[in-house]
Symmetry: C2
Subunit: 338 residues, 2 copies
């Protein structure tokens, strides 16, 4: 591909026989440019394929059109859907998104938050790895930040989350209603705020069911090993996974061990993925409203970027609980009083 010097506003101006200021006025639809000049400039822009340098434009005008998104891991489909929805909304408002991920590592998250500042985004939407954001967002970080999904460790941030405790409680109550006497709750780490909320919610509604918590970590091999231990040492009657990746590996582990749901082991997961409907029996899940979370997050960030200085705001969205075959005992429902 033959390399040609890049086209700048000066090139366009020279070719059109006007000044760079006139080209800028045309491109930015400023009033009081003669129709003849408008036509001439537009024609040259099309001919040369000129595209304004958004960085230079922001430098001079101060007007932003970039926002940043920081997520723990783009391989997780939940985050992929989240970012995809955000992008659609951002584009409608004339923004592009700079998307970075932290590989589920708090040190990388710190580095990513630092690095993203250098692009001067107008604001940030952050799904933190664990929530210790105030350590990673120094006082000099002035841009508005909306936190999603995990609770930040300081009250300075707008937060969009789901009703973790209540939804996990619903699962716990359901399992208890079905007559299960013991349940292991598996989650990555209790230091991750939404995992802790879910555990606490589950614990609050266990009724007569004995609940225990196992922290399986974030690394697939470790998750697999701890779940394998859990299911082979003293197997509970039910297993409740508190996040998507834990749920996926939990299901793999129980199928590898030849355990079928719900007879050998009832299984529920706090996150919905398509495959959970496909396996037989289908899996009881808590479905998080990912697109609503993305919508609420973008709307709140838009307000902040627009100058809104209201007190910080927390929005909790409701999940839905999908009861499916993986937790239903034969006659289980009818044997318990409503």
């Amino acid at each position: 591909m033959k390399r040609r010097p890049p086209v700048s506003i000066k090139t366009v101006a020279e070719r059109a026989g006007v000044s760079p200021a006139t080209v800028s006025n045309v491109l930015n639809a400023k009033p009081s440019v003669a129709p003849e000049l408008i036509e001439r400039v537009r024609s040259v822009v099309a001919e040369l394929g000129y595209v304004t340098d958004s960085n230079a434009s922001r430098l001079r005008s101060g007007k932003h059109s970039l926002a940043g998104v920081v997520v723990p891991d783009l391989s997780n489909p939940m985050f992929g859907t989240f970012v995809s929805t955000l992008e659609t909304l951002a584009r409608e408002d004339g923004f592009d998104l700079l998307v970075v991920s932290a590989a589920n590592d708090v040190e990388q998250e710190k580095e990513r938050l630092h690095a993203i500042r250098s692009w001067r985004p107008a604001g940030l939407i952050v799904i933190p790895c664990d929530g210790a954001l105030s350590q990673r967002t120094p006082p000099s970080m002035h841009m508005p930040i909306v936190v999603v999904d995990r609770l930040p460790d300081a009250p300075d941030f707008d937060l969009i989350a789901v009703n973790n405790a209540q939804s996990a409680a619903a699962i716990s109550a359901h399992l208890s209603e079905q007559g299960y006497r013991s349940c292991t709750v598996a989650g990555s780490m209790l230091s991750i705020s939404n995992i802790r909320e879910r555990w606490e919610g589950a614990a609050s509604a266990a009724g007569d069911m004995t609940l225990s918590m196992v922290e399986v970590g974030l690394e697939a091999k470790g998750i697999r090993r701890r779940l394998h231990e859990t299911l082979t040492q003293r197997r509970p009657e039910a297993l409740f996974a508190l996040d998507h990746i834990t749920g996926l590996i939990a299901y793999q582990t129980m199928t590898d061990l030849g355990l079928s749901a719900p007879g050998d082991l009832a299984f529920a997961c706090f996150d919905e993925a398509e495959w959970m409907r496909l396996v037989r029996p289908a899996i009881t899940t808590v479905r998080q409203p990912i697109e609503e979370m993305a919508t609420a997050a973008w709307q709140q960030l838009s307000r902040r970027m627009g100058g809104n200085a209201d007190p910080v705001r927390t929005l909790r969205l409701a999940c839905s609980v999908e009861v499916r075959g993986s937790t239903l005992r034969e006659g289980g429902r009818s044997s318990t009083a409503a």
Copy 2:
């Protein structure tokens, strides 16, 4: 959060009692700065939390640290994994990624490719919606572009793809070996080059098996409807889905119709997802080497961004075929000569 005027290199210079040029020299580790000044500048940078404006830096220095990635849809886990891997590699080379997606729409892809240019990325990695890239990358678009997964419609681009035809042929041959006499091959659209290659590959190795192609489109409802029609009108003995989303919806449709694999309908898919191993029987798949594709794409783009002007290059990576229960007939293998 109290808004304070942003800190610039001038603020740092004033506070440190040096010139902006000295601050720049310190931050960029230029030789011949007195140790005392280095220490003073660093201390002020830390105190004020100053972060260089990468846009202004690139404007003056001409040195890039942003690359662009365009994918059809981030909700598709394959693209999520791809971008995640790219990001890790880019970061190792000191680059950030501007990630945009086209919502599987060629008009949006055109708009996205145009918009991403305004950020002046040093290069682009593009998974096109259908491959008609030369229409969406005008001659004025000089940055290096590496195309991934789908064939571009012009020979100007580096390409990283998989051996679609050969891998699909392997599935087709396997189905024929198993004794299936008819197979429907379902893919989004033949105008998408990798779908076309896969169909052609499957067709080339069908042997005695009757093959037919159904183009199901990209929109979930339409995919579901066409697959439903296909499976209820004149049901084939086998179904081979050519991409992930088609495979997911195909499996949903057959389970909704009460069809079990492989007895009622053998099922194979050209893409691997975790759930395909979890369902019973597990699904026969072609596993694409997503991380290797990302690695090869980044390496090639790095070379191009570094000034390499070798002729354009195509790299085809090999997929692996995972034969599982969804296509294995009882005694099917032993009845066919190797």
